[in-house]
Every structure is written in structure tokens, then in C-alpha cells.
């Protein structure tokens, strides 16, 4: 099964952003969170949005998920303009978005239930997905009984079970300790190698972006905008050892420089990226 999927190259999951501007807040406190952003992501590509807090990276992700409407410009996936939230564009947040009243299996099976899949079938598929993210034997646990890393694994399984065109990830490992975070990054790469879904991954961690992405879109704050795109040249599958390589250091220096040249973002009020 794995080899079959490895040979399969994704044909869906192309993202196009055309002069997208997004405004957040109401009335006099409204401001432009994203200003005139244009970029493209190819099917099956792994792209990181890197930037300081307040640069609009999460807002852009929320708009792609369909939770926020751009004030101007067009966001489209496979040629279809994004209008509303849809399971084809699965989103994973930083933490605490599993349903606390459903056990791991029922959390994963939620999307299937919404599609009208029969109980037996959806349980089977949910269990399979939980196995895939390494949670064999934890399907009966409630989120409150799982560690932070395990909860993020359930989140990923819950989105993957819907066979989305894209995976939108909003600092999904931001709340985890360093070691768990490293394991999760490896797991995500492993899953991505198997399924080749398009992934758009928001982070403010340069190491994480360099380790994961094919390409990094660096953003700046006030107003949030795209600053530069960096192609990450490392071979796949990637080993964590590349962190010590000269090329990695050089790219990291470059990213640091880009982020440091942008010091005005500190004064921006921290708003919920979904505008909720």
C-alpha cells in the first residue's frame, strides 16, 4: 500500500492567491492584517509560512480554510474560489480543538459521520487512521486523557480521514516540548511522503520551516505581507542531522536576517486570527 501511494503524485491541491488583502476587526479598530499577498503552491508541495507574530500568516491560513473572507483579491484551490469551510481543506490548530466530549476514535470519525458514513465503517476507518499516526490502542481515550503530542496526532488523523486536498496547519506543534515537537515533525514528514497532500504550514520557528518545507514564504508585519520566497534545497527523506549542515546554517542566517529587519510588528495587538 505504501509503495503504491509513494508512486502516486498528487494532482489536486493547487493553491493560488491573487492580490489577497484581508481586514480584521470592526469599525474604528479594523486594520489590514494581510496586504496584497500573491503566491502559488503546487499540488503535493510542502510550504511553510514563516513570520513574526502579527504578520498575518494565521489570518491567511484562516482565509484559505474559508473562515475569513478576503476584502480584496481571490484565493482559490484547484481553480475553485474559496468560499466556505470545507473538509477538503482540513485545518489543524495549535491545541485544544478536539471535541473534549468525544473519545479519540469518535473525534477522528466526526468528518465521516458528517458525510453519512455508517457507524461500523467509520469506526474502522478512524481506527486505521489512528494507527497511522501511531495511536494504536488509544482510540477510547478522551482528549483530556491524552498528552499534548497525542492530541495533535488525533488532530492530524481527524483531518486526514476526510482525504483533503490540502492540509492547513497553524503552528500545530507550537505548544509541544522540544523532543515531542521533533517527533511530530518526523511523523508529519513521514505521513506527507506517503500521501503527498499539499501542506501549508504556519510557523515562527525557522528550524521547523527549514526542516519541513520545500519552500518557505517569509512574511512581514504591519501590514502583513509577503516578503520573500526561499526554496529549501535539502534532499528527501530528510534526516534531522541536516540541522548541523553548513547550508542549513546559511539559510537560517538568511531567515534570521529577514525576520530581524522587521521590528515594527511588536506593537500590534494580538487578535484571534479567525477574527472570532
Amino acid at each position: 500500500m505504501t509503495t503504491h501511494q509513494r508512486s502516486f503524485r498528487a494532482a489536486t491541491g493547487r493553491i493560488e492567491a491573487n492580490h489577497v488583502s484581508i481586514r480584521l476587526g470592526r469599525g474604528s479598530s479594523a486594520f489590514e492584517a494581510v496586504s496584497d499577498a500573491s503566491f502559488e503552491v503546487s499540488p503535493g508541495e510542502f510550504v511553510c509560512l514563516l513570520g513574526p507574530s502579527g504578520c498575518g500568516k494565521s489570518t491567511l491560513l484562516g482565509a484559505l480554510a474559508g473562515h475569513i473572507k478576503p476584502a480584496a483579491g481571490v484565493l482559490s484551490v484547484d481553480g475553485q474560489p474559496v468560499k466556505d469551510p470545507h473538509p477538503e481543506r482540513g485545518i489543524v490548530f495549535q491545541h485544544h480543538t478536539l471535541f473534549p466530549w468525544k473519545n479519540a476514535r469518535d473525534n477522528v470519525a466526526f468528518g465521516l459521520k458528517m458525510r453519512g458514513v455508517k457507524r461500523g465503517q467509520r469506526r474502522l476507518e478512524a481506527e486505521k487512521m489512528l494507527d497511522l499516526v501511531g495511536l494504536n490502542g488509544f482510540s477510547g481515550r478522551y482528549p483530556g486523557q491524552l498528552s499534548g503530542g497525542m492530541q495533535q496526532r488525533v488532530e492530524i488523523a481527524r483531518v486526514l480521514v476526510n482525504q483533503p486536498r490540502l492540509l492547513l496547519m497553524d503552528e500545530p506543534f507550537g505548544a509541544l516540548d522540544a523532543l515531542t515537537r521533533l517527533r511530530m515533525q518526523e511523523l508529519l514528514l513521514d505521513i506527507w511522503e506517503q500521501f503527498r497532500k499539499t501542506i501549508l504550514f504556519v510557523t515562527h520557528d525557522i528550524d521547523e520551516a527549514l526542516l519541513l518545507a520545500d519552500r518557505i514564504i517569509v512574511m512581514q508585519a504591519q501590514p502583513g505581507r509577503i516578503h520573500e520566497e526561499i526554496t529549501v534545497p535539502f534532499e528527501r527523506p530528510r534526516m534531522t542531522e541536516i540541522i548541523a549542515s553548513g547550508e542549513f546554517m546559511r539559510l537560517k542566517q538568511h531567515c534570521l536576517h529577514l525576520l530581524h529587519s522587521d521590528r515594527r510588528g511588536d506593537t500590534l495587538p494580538r487578535l484571534s486570527p479567525l477574527g472570532l
Binding site: 480554510a65 474559508g66 473562515h67 466556505d84 469551510p85 470545507h86 473538509p87 481543506r89 482540513g90 485545518i91 490548530f93 485544544h96 480543538t97 471535541f99 473534549p100 466530549w101 468525544k102 466526526f110 468528518g111 459521520k113 458528517m114 458525510r115 478522551y142 482528549p143 483530556g144 486523557q145 481527524r158 483531518v159 476526510n162 484571534s272 479567525l274 472570532l276
Partner: protein, 260 residues
């Protein structure tokens, strides 16, 4: 673990015993503090014997069952109306604004103040009594439900929408379970206030009910019986709230496990 529990029970029993001793002393010494006097407060022993008489009397069952029926009917209607309205108000800003003024105005009106109007509005005294217990339970249930709905994490709602949730599923699988702990709290408090309003309600009554029994005992100068009625109301209120809390904990296993 067991020692800890034993200690807790001893502490609880101890505090009850102290209350009883203070009561015994105050009433047997006919304590008169000027502004408050215990001269007409019966001795605990008299209350116990009055309680035993009441337990044996043929009217006991009629008193208890008519009070239980009223409280359960009033509380049941309040639960349905309170949870239903609360869900709607919590989900719709428009309806919330629309209903806020009348609800805020009605909320502080105490049960006693409703008596005349209740008598005038309802065709039978039974219905007006149920209405009084209903007014007591409605607001705690309504307000806690609204609060519960509003405090459901918006990211949970966003996640559910991204996972393809329908409107019905959003209500049944996200909003109601998310608000459930608050709803249970509202029901527990509402059950208490429902009993709280019982004496008020049964002032209307001419025959049966613990509240009526308490009030009648006062007019007939049966002083020990007043306290028997009061204690019965307290016991029933406490018991029914405890039952609800236990039912809530059983229905929301994730909530209790979560908090450990």
C-alpha cells in the same frame, strides 16, 4: 483514601452535631438577645417527636407527593423552556438583544410578588403553584445555558465547520455538549430555587404540600411542626440537587475525567 473519607464524614457529622447542640442550648435556655428571641423556638427533641408523628400520619404521603409533583412539574417546564431559550439566545445575537430587556426586567421579581398575578392568571390554584416553582427554576437554568453556549470555544466551532459539520450536527454534537456542564449547573441551582419557592407557592394552596404544612403549622401555632416542614424542604432540595449532580456526572464522563 478511606481514612480521608472517614475524616470528611466525621467533620460533616461534627458540624451537624454542633448546630444541634447550639439549637438545644438556645431553645432550652429561652435565649433572648433583644432583637432575636428563641422563646418560641421548639426543642430538637420536640421537633423529632413531631416529625415522627407526621411520618406516621395518613396525610404525610399526600403532603409529600403533592409538593413533589409541583416541584417536578415546575422544574420540568423550566428545564425545557430555559434550555431551549438559552440555546437560541446563546446562538443568535439578534434574538439575544431582542429578549434581553424583558428577561432582565422579569429576573429580579421574587416568587412572592408573583402570587397575586399567578392566582389571577391561572384557572386552577394547582397551575398557579406550578407557575411559581417554574419562575424560581427558570432563570438559573436559562442564564447558565446562555453562558454555556457563549463559552463554547470558537475554535471548536471553526474546526467542526472545517470538518463538514451540518447545522443540526453543530447544535447536537458541538454546542450542546460544550454547554452541557453549565446546563447541569443551571439545573442543579434551578432545582434548589424551585424548592426554595415551594412555601411561597403553597401559600396559595388550601390542602396539601410541605410548604402548606409549614405555613399551616404557623397559623395553628404548632411550633415544632414548622421546623419539621422546614427541614423536610431542606432535605428534599438537597437530595434532588445531589441526584441531578450525580446524573450530570454520569452523563458527562469526559468532564469529570478532564478535571482530575
Amino acid at each position: 483514601m478511606t481514612r480521608f473519607h472517614l475524616g470528611r464524614w466525621l467533620r460533616r457529622a461534627g458540624s451537624l452535631a454542633i448546630c444541634l447542640i447550639l439549637w438545644q442550648m438556645a431553645s432550652s435556655l429561652r435565649l433572648n438577645l433583644g432583637i432575636v428571641t428563641f422563646e418560641n423556638v421548639s426543642l430538637p427533641a420536640d421537633v423529632v417527636s413531631a416529625a415522627l408523628d407526621f411520618l406516621r400520619s395518613p396525610k404525610f404521603f399526600a403532603h409529600i407527593s403533592s409538593s413533589l409533583e409541583r416541584v417536578l412539574a415546575g422544574f420540568g417546564i423550566a428545564a425545557v423552556v430555559g434550555i431551549g431559550l438559552g440555546l437560541v439566545i446563546g446562538r443568535s445575537r439578534w434574538l439575544g438583544d431582542f429578549l434581553q430587556a424583558p428577561l432582565e426586567l422579569l429576573r429580579p421579581i421574587p416568587a412572592v410578588a408573583w402570587i397575586p398575578l399567578a392566582v389571577l392568571m391561572f384557572s386552577s390554584s394547582e397551575l398557579s403553584m406550578i407557575f411559581i416553582t417554574f419562575t424560581g427554576a427558570l432563570f438559573p437554568i436559562l442564564l447558565n445555558t446562555v453562558h454555556g453556549v457563549e463559552s463554547v470555544d470558537p475554535r471548536l466551532i471553526a474546526s467542526a465547520r472545517s470538518l463538514g459539520s451540518t447545522r443540526t450536527a453543530m447544535l447536537l454534537e458541538v454546542i450542546i455538549p460544550g454547554a452541557a456542564p453549565n446546563i447541569v449547573t443551571g439545573l442543579v441551582i434551578g432545582m434548589g430555587t424551585s424548592w426554595f419557592c415551594l412555601v411561597t407557592a403553597e401559600m396559595i394552596s388550601g390542602q396539601f404540600g410541605i410548604g402548606y404544612y409549614t405555613w399551616e403549622s404557623y397559623t395553628l401555632q404548632n411550633y415544632p411542626e414548622i421546623i419539621v416542614g422546614m427541614i423536610l424542604i431542606g432535605l428534599f432540595g438537597m437530595g434532588s440537587s445531589a441526584l441531578l449532580r450525580a446524573a450530570g456526572a454520569a452523563l458527562l464522563p469526559w468532564h469529570t475525567k478532564d478535571s482530575k
